[in-house]
């Protein structure tokens, strides 16, 4: 499901290199990274390659393609080494799908023994690492070896293009399958010196569903044998100098959280109201403030830009759908975002304290977000500081008119008849 790191090294010969993924994987593809390696073993240097989705015309069964642009076109006969890292979410399927409180969680992992490729493969080996030694069963595509926590398929020689041989591994995985089904992060910039972040989480346990009884007695008295796949706390890594942190849900404060801060980072350890077993859900809100000078800078052309981290601060979770809203101060213009990976973008308007024209909101949406997406992005905009004075002036003038009308009222006689 999460963090199933499958690394593949392939050798190819062309100016562009095509990668192919089966459609089921392409749906859950969170991230594809590629780098070209040059040099020998210890002195390897890596150069990042640009990956962009393309259509592969002759791909069978709707396989999705990605194009890698090589820095130096490969002349025929030449070889180069490319490392491709891709991440899949929801790639493990719990089986049995429902377990009771005392059972360990077993999952299926489906893949192909051969990598899906539009090219003919000379030689290939697949390694699958399992988190525990308890592997119930695995498909055999000879030659297949199993040693401890590692499964080795191959080496296979001379495979035709688009060859596919499904393998199924059934193993124990008690890692907490913490899935944030939806995360809405709102970053509100106030030029009075504060950056306010509000994060709305919908958290679920994506593992095997709990069947029948949840017994508190078992859970409390035998923590090692009961509910091993459940989790009850999460760690949120927040930026340093964080202040006024709160952790609550729609019915009030959740008292079980702990904040540790030092000069480099802040760690917020949170416990949902109840331990999450398979299939259980929970929602909560984390909010915190940050000093603005750590994140807002002025660029050379007079624009301001916010430099903030994308992604989800909770460690070890995947986010199915992330919506990031950057609320710019009232009166700011021409917002534009610079993000190192593709996201959906649109604009909204938000009315907050005493706003008249509303604040522009840049909304960024992305599906399948993994911790690798926790990288900085920038939002550029122009802002005239005179707008900062609008609201204080409004308040001052209101009070002034109030007093003025009081004075007027006391000095004007509005009775019809004198006497």
């Amino acid at each position: 499901l999460s963090l199933s790191q499958v690394e593949n090294t392939g050798k190819a010969a062309a100016s562009d290199v095509l990668l192919a993924f089966p459609p089921t994987e392409a749906e859950h593809l969170a991230e594809v990274k590629a780098q070209a390696a040059s040099g020998k073993k210890r002195k390897k240097t890596y150069a990042h390659l640009i990956v962009e989705p393309t259509d592969v015309p002759d791909a069978p069964n709707g396989a999705k393609g990605f194009r890698l642009a090589l820095h130096n076109p490969l002349s025929p006969g030449e070889t180069t080494t490319i490392e491709v890292l891709y991440m899949l979410t929801h790639s493990m399927e719990p089986f049995p799908a429902e377990i009771s409180q005392s059972d360990p969680q077993l999952v299926y992992y489906r893949d192909s023994a051969y990598i899906l490729s539009p090219y003919r493969i000379k030689q290939q080996t697949t390694f699958i690492k399992t988190p525990s030694t308890n592997v119930q069963s695995f498909s055999r595509v000879e030659p297949t070896n199993r040693a401890g926590m590692e499964l080795k398929y191959g080496p296979y020689e001379d495979l035709p293009a688009y060859s596919y041989s499904p393998v199924l591994v059934h193993f124990e995985n008690n890692n907490p399958f913490a899935v944030v089904e939806e995360l809405v992060r709102e970053v509100e910039i106030s030029h009075w010196g504060n950056l306010q972040i509000t994060e709305h989480y919908t958290l679920a346990h994506g593992g095997a569903k709990l069947k029948g009884v949840f017994s508190r007695v078992d859970y409390q008295s035998r923590p090692s044998a009961s509910g091993v796949s459940s989790f009850k706390n999460l760690l949120a890594r927040l930026p340093p100098r964080v202040h006024s942190v709160y952790y609550r849900d729609e019915i009030g404060n959740i008292s079980s959280s702990r904040l540790r801060t030092d000069s480099r980072k802040s760690e917020l350890e949170i416990e949902p109201r109840y331990p999450l077993f398979g299939g259980w859900k929970s929602t909560f809100i984390i909010g915190y403030g940050l000093p603005l000078e750590d994140f807002l800078f002025e660029s050379t052309d007079g624009k301001r830009y916010l430099n903030f981290t994308f992604g989800c601060p909770l460690s070890g979770t995947v986010v199915d759908k992330l919506t990031l809203k950057v609320v710019l101060p009232e009166g700011s213009k021409d917002p534009s975002a610079v993000i190192p990976f593709p996201v959906e973008e649109h604009m909204e308007t938000k009315y907050s304290y005493l706003d008249v024209v509303g604040r522009p909101v840049l909304v960024l949406e992305k599906k399948n977000v993994v911790p690798e997406h926790n990288i900085p992005f920038q939002v550029y905009y122009t802002f005239n500081p005179i707008f900062m004075l609008a609201e204080p002036l409004m308040l001052v003038s209101t009070v002034f008119f109030l007093f003025a009308s009081c004075v007027a009222y006391l000095h004007i006689d509005i009775s019809i008849r004198k006497g």
């Binding site: 029948g212 009884v213 949840f214 017994s215 508190r216 007695v217 409390q220 008295s221 849900d249 019915i251 009030g252 404060n253 959740i254 008292s255 079980s256 109201r273 109840y274 299939g279 259980w280 859900k281 929970s282 929602t283 009315y351 907050s352 304290y353 005493l354 706003d355 008249v356």
Partner: protein, 793 residues
């Protein structure tokens, strides 16, 4: 904290130097500042709950009000009136729009709307949490106005300061206590103020405002019947004591006509405003005041001899008519089973009524009679000051001070019946104590001033700007005349003598010279005694303040959904089990699942977990509650059948045995038995008691040990410590190892305070033929018996 003292002393300091108008202006400004401070005090003393705990809605009823407010703010006012709530009282539902007092909801909804239209994004919850503190500031200002009408601004400021922090009122209006009483006390005091104001001025403008304030009160709280009975009582008192005046008529008649019309606009009151006995007194007095008015009118236009003849004529005819009307009325009223009174009103008139006939009213702790300590806890030193205040009100007895006396006397009675109505007593106690304190300070500071060297020769300084001349105790008679009384009496004297009765004239003649007379007869207390008395009074006030702050901080600010305990090393441990359970329900069960629990938790379940409940704190259907009570007190199988027939999926019980939380379901269980047994006679209370004692240990009766509540509470409890020691009952439980056949545990909170069970699905009937016929026979035979027991079959 210093405001009550400065309220009295402040103007004195400025009194000496400047001219009178400047002094007045200074007094006004200082009074205004003090009032603002009192408002701030009233607001901020109620924030302990937010600071110590969190900004959250408290207890039970406020959750319902919060939910209604959420609905109102989301769907608008028209949907609110038509709201049929299908998430409660399943399968009956409840017409919220027609059965709720909308005042509080509409108030908070309006505040929310105004604030949001100014683009201040406060959540509905925040508005609801802070509604009560805001309105308690309003209430103390209203108390200032009322007391000012009665005894002048000094007493008014003292009363306002006292009311701002009276513990009884704090208990109902801390931040988060979003209940009807929060706004109703303000409405109550303000209505009384407008009534007194009308009575003192005779202005139709204030009479109309009075009717509107009464309308707001009717919108807000069922306690409006107190107003509509107290004011007629006062009017009657005035008439009987010969104090009838046109001002009284203006104060009363428009209130009845307009007020009743407006009251019947509120859906929950509707025709009750003219039909039920609670309102009967007002109409009777309405007739009487007209008769009296007519009598005075006729008396004015006829010569004394003719009048005597007329009186005999009218009285004999009138008596006959009255007898006939009363006979009809009695017949009508007697034809209804409760004599036209609601259960709660009857409980007030006959304190033993509820425990005899309506266990559901008696089961609520706030409907019990209070104990003496609770008087001390809730009104503290005011209890000692009130008698002094009553005496002060008799010197002299005016229309307004007689009203205050009547108010305190009736509210003392009501608070003696129900601890909840201590809340009505609190403003009255504050007003009278304010009067008493202010009078005492007046006498004492004046004595001190009078005897201090240097200013002793100048008696005019001793005369205060607004008050008040009072004589010493030695000659026994003292007079207090507020300045607004003086113009009033003068005005009255100017009126045509023809319009007035002789008695009134006499009164005026008597009254007029009194101020000047007492000024000369000014007698003083010894200097030392006065100084000591002032110090003692200040000490008393300080004691009151300390007590109020303590009560606000420690006793009344716990939100009751979160419990805290201090561990030995000083750390704070939070028990947040209720919200844990509600949160679990709301996220991990189907939206349309029905949850059965005792009615206490109904409002919270619908508001926090958003699940349908069978019964809730609006105990409108006794039978339905009795059904749940019966199920809880039945053995597992019967209980399963009752719950299954009601479509229930989950059963929620509250259990305090692990952490020692005393108000859990086992301790409430006898009420379930009583209420259940009241409707379904096969549940008998003695079956659950061993020799009249309620116990859950090995001595408990088998009925008790086999009932559903016992089983759900103690299921696998023995495995926690090996013995099954219940920390609330301080005993080992009777039956330790047992299995559940028809229910399964699906969730238990961290401290075991809430346990949720799921009804097991019906068993499949694929069995051998012989078995099948057997089981079906047994089921059918049982059903015959149950036909009477379970109304839902």
């Amino acid at each position: 904290m210093a405001s009550p003292e400065s309220a009295v002393n402040g103007p004195t300091m400025t009194a000496g130097a400047a001219s009178k108008s400047l002094r007045n202006a200074f007094g006004g400004v200082i009074a205004f500042i003090i009032l603002v401070l009192i408002g701030v005090l009233a607001f901020s003393i109620r924030l302990f709950s937010v600071i110590k705990y969190e900004s959250v809605i408290h207890e039970f009823d406020p959750y319902f009000n919060y939910r209604v407010t959420q609905f109102l703010s989301k769907n608008g006012i028209y949907d609110f009136w038509n709201w049929f709530d299908d998430r409660t009282w399943y399968p009956l539902g409840r017409v919220i729009g027609g059965t709720v007092y909308p005042g509080l909801t509409l108030t908070a909804g309006t505040i929310w709307k105004v604030v949001n239209s100014l683009n201040i994004p406060l959540s509905v919850e925040t508005v609801c949490v802070f509604t009560a503190p805001i309105f308690s500031a309003f209430a103390s200002w209203a108390a200032y106005l009322l007391t000012k009408e009665v005894k002048g601004p000094g007493a008014g400021l003292t009363a306002a300061a006292l009311l701002a922090m009276v513990p009884s009122y704090i208990s109902r209006s801390v931040a988060g206590s979003y209940d009807n009483e929060a706004v109703a006390i303000f409405a109550l005091v303000f209505t009384f103020y407008l009534y007194i104001k009308t009575l003192n001025t005779g202005s139709l403008f204030y009479a109309t405002l009075n009717a509107l304030a009464y309308f707001y009160m009717v919108c807000s709280w069922g306690g409006y019947t107190f107003i509509i009975n107290l004011i007629p009582m006062h009017v009657l008192l005035c008439i009987v004591t010969g104090r009838y005046s046109s001002r009284l008529y203006i104060a009363y008649a428009p209130l009845v006509v307009l007020g009743t019309l407006l009251a019947s606009l509120v859906p929950v009151v509707g025709f009750n405003a003219v039909l039920t006995s609670e309102h009967f007194a007002s109409f009777l007095v309405f007739i009487i005041i007209h008769v009296v008015a007519l009598a005075y009118y006729i008396k004015g236009i006829l010569s004394p001899k003719m009048f005597k003849v007329a009186v005999t004529l009218v009285v004999s005819a009138g008596l006959a008519v009255c007898c006939a009307v009363i006979a009809i009325l009695i017949a009508v009223v007697a034809s209804s089973p409760t004599k036209g009174w609601s259960g709660r009103s009857l409980t007030l008139l006959d304190p033993t009524y509820a425990s005899k006939y309506i266990p559901i009213i008696a089961s609520v702790s706030e409907h019990q009679p209070p104990t003496w300590p609770s008087y001390f806890m809730d009104i503290n030193v005011l209890a000692f000051l009130v008698p002094a205040g009553i005496i002060a009100c008799f010197m002299p007895l005016t229309d307004s001070s007689s009203f205050v006396i009547l108010y305190i006397v009736t509210s003392v009675y009501f608070s003696g019946v129900m601890v909840r109505l201590m809340l009505v007593l609190a403003p009255a106690a504050c007003i009278l104590s304010g009067i008493a304190l202010s009078e005492a300070f007046n006498v004492l500071t004046r004595s001190i001033k009078f005897q201090l060297p240097g200013i002793a020769g100048n008696p005019s300084i001793a005369v205060r700007m607004w008050c008040i001349m009072s004589t010493s105790k030695e000659n026994g008679s003292s007079t207090v005349v507020a300045p607004n009384d003086i113009p009033k009496t003068e005005e009255a004297a100017k009126e045509k003598p023809a319009k007035k009765n002789r008695k009134k004239e006499k009164e005026n003649v008597e009254k007029k010279p009194t101020p000047s007379k007492t000024e000369k007869r000014l007698l003083v207390l010894p200097l030392e005694a006065s100084v000591i008395a002032v110090l003692l009074l200040v000490l008393l006030g300080a004691f009151y303040v300390v007590h109020c702050v303590w009560a606000a901080a420690e006793a009344y600010s716990a939100p009751s959904i979160v419990l805290t305990s201090h561990s030995n090393d000083g750390g704070l441990h939070v028990f947040d089990d209720f919200r844990e359970a509600y949160s679990w329900l709301s996220h991990n069960t189907d939206v349309d699942d029905k949850v059965a629990s005792w009615w206490d938790y109904g409002y919270q379940t619908t508001a926090m977990a958003n699940r349908t409940v069978l019964v809730d704190n609006n105990t409108w259907n006794n039978t339905h509650i009795a059904t749940v009570g019966t199920a809880m007190s039945s053995p597992e199988k019967q209980a399963w059948e009752i719950f299954h027939s009601l479509d229930v999926k989950y059963v929620l019980v509250v259990f305090g045995g692990v952490v020692g939380y005393p108000s859990d379901d086992i301790n409430k269980f006898l009420w379930m038995v009583r209420i259940g047994g009241g409707v379904f006679p096969h549940i008998k209370e003695p079956d659950y008691l061993r020799d009249g004692q309620y116990r859950i240990d090995a001595q408990a009766t088998p009925t008790m040990l086999n009932c559903l509540m016992y089983k759900l509470s103690y299921f696998r409890f023995v495995e926690t410590d090996g013995k099954g020691f219940d920390r609330v009952r301080r005993t080992e439980i009777g039956k330790k190892h047992f299995k559940l056949t028809h229910f399964e545990e699906v969730f238990t909170t961290h401290h075991w305070m809430v346990r949720i069970y799921k009804l097991k699905p019906q068993r499949n009937r694929i069995r051998g033929k012989t078995k099948k016929s057997k089981s079906s026979r047994s089921v059918s035979s049982k059903r015959d018996v149950r036909g009477k027991r379970n109304p839902w079959h």
